[in-house]
Amino acid sequence: MNALLAILFYLATLLFVVGLFHRIRTYAVTPAPLKIPTTPAPTTTGGVVLRMTREVVLFESLFKANLWTWGLGWLFHASMALVVLRHLRYFIEPVWAWVVFIQPFGIYAGIAMLLGLCGLWARRLFVERIRYISTPSDHLMLLLFIAIAVSGLMMKFVAHTDVIAVKIFFQGLMHFSIQPLPADTILVLHLFSVVILLVIFPYSKLLHAPGVFFSPTRNQVDNPREKRHISAWAAKMESEK
């Protein structure tokens, strides 16, 4: 089991990094031939950075759209961020002071994350419009996150696992040596779910995370009259004449 999970983690990380890098590269090299910011839009680069920060940190547009979706979505994402940061302790030695500090908050965040996920799933199941647009993968994606959150919380509140051993396992992985892992079913479920998440990330709607930074309606400066914007393929049309 140790060796299998270790190999899976290596493969999954490889797929995640390569897949994501490839996708981001595609976004970066695909031109945006026209100025299409959704106006009113900032007229300076600084303004665009602020707009993007509000979008990524506060989910500004979603806030305008629907308070329930915003509340549940923000709760889920913010809690998950805290939970991920809390997990840094498995990968660094010695553990940084601020990571030590957030440990207890990370527990509450785990619960909040689960609540957010359940709320989002309820919305998907019971709101007619959202049910109509949901594909099986939309439901499964939520289920996967719920599995990760529940198994994680269970190791805190129901069946403790040997976190020291887990840390040794991951420290070992980082130095290409396979160390023993506690043979707990819940732990294996938790880690296996994370492997799946890493693998599907670059090939699924989870691409919304890098995608938002490349969205022309949000990242373009509104200065079309002041500065000529032209893509390489469009500029070619001018030299052809």
């Binding site: 976004y27 031939p33 839009a41 979603l62 919304h208 938002v212 949000r218 079309p224 469009a234």
Partner: protein, 510 residues
Amino acid sequence: MADITPPAYRSFPIIPKLIPGAMEGKGPFVASDKINEAIGFPGHLVDDWHDKAIAKMGDLLSKYRSLKVYMDACVHCGACSDKCHYFIGTQDPKNMPVARQDLMRSIYRRYFTLPGKLFPKLVGARDLTREVLDEWHNYFHQCSECRRCSVFCPYGIDTAEITMAAREILDSVGYGQKYSIEIIGKVHRIGNNLGLPAPALIDTLEGLEEDVKEATGIDVRFPIDVKGAEVLLITPSADFFAEPHIDSLIGYAKVFHATGTSWTLSSMSSEAGNFGMFIGNYDQLRKIALRIREAALELGVKRIVVGECGHAWRVAYSFWNTLSGVGDGADPNDRFAQMLQKQLDHRYRQPTHICEFTWDMIQDERLEFDKSANDNLIITFHDSCNVARGSSMGGYPGGQFDIPRNIIRAVANNYVDMDPSTTHERTFCCGGGGGLLTDDLIDVRVKGALPRMEVLQQVTDMHKVNFMACICAICKAQFTKIMPIYGFDRRMVGGVHQLVSNAIVLGKNK
């Protein structure tokens, strides 16, 4: 017309129930061989349409970052699902922006992503069949590219970009829409969307000079093809003869007259509208925009001013600099753009919206108004979608909302805003934009106007509003046609410069 009944107002704006299949159908008329071939599209549906369509989609995905990112990024959160006026008016779930996008996203996933190739059912992917193509033709012509959904999407996904891509794919296999393609043919052949030839145009303008002289006793000119004029006015061709558009044209002429501005129209380039945007075709978008460049170079003008038209202003403001060099800030080595930019006077924004022009003149105290001339009117303002969400005015974010309102307040005493959830960047499309202003789509046009009609009814009930000003030729045409169906007087709609025209004091050149 008589048998068309509008949908009932919602008692308060609640989210409507879904009626699957409510708007199923054939969609708008398909372009004929002659119309298609006139602008280089295949005459009719080609035999190998499946492969051609997929190839075209791949081509667009490599050319437009918007399309690529938007195909990937949607998480089906539903933020947009109740924001489209066509969904609100028709209750057809495929008119929810996300569902409209999914009509294409399902194909993208099948042919361009690994999970869609391996597990199509799981991720909602499907093969491109003839039924899908028909569905595209129908539902991608129930979108007016108004961008309201993009305001609310957490990733800024703009359904307009996807509609444009879908229409371009349809055009590339000979299955495009008659109305838009026919009009593009007219622009190239005659010079404007309405097919008004130069002699008729000159005749119309002479008639207008006589009319204004009769009404005011003043010789207001409507010059055309005047070399060396300072300002070239590019305005939607509807302004030349349609009601109420023409009253705004008279307004522009009076503003130019009162400020002593030398100006001209162009018979070769007598159209601000650019239907190339509606069909998402960069080549057409560019060719149509180049007509304005040509006219500007030929007439040697220093400024280019654009009349009241929504999508035309989006194209002019956001795209002209890119497409034709009408603007500022081209690279010194960019000979194509510099050729024109050297000629233009960069003390002014290029291009300038007529509202920017008039508001600047008001601020410089070069115009005088008798506001009481508009006292019979209680006015509200409909933000046209493409002006609101695809452009700006005045050089600061939100100028596109303030400046038209400032002008109205400067020329009239009675002004009220409509419900704020339906104005500014949250405004609703009139229901006829984006290439839908055609009688074969009257059903969706009437239904799509519902949210605007509801709030107009509110302000008529509460404040006795009897005039809705707007700055778009399509809004004006759409509203005059569908408002009687909702029980309003068609004369309730008009341009901002119609109000300017009513109140302006002439005969005292400052």
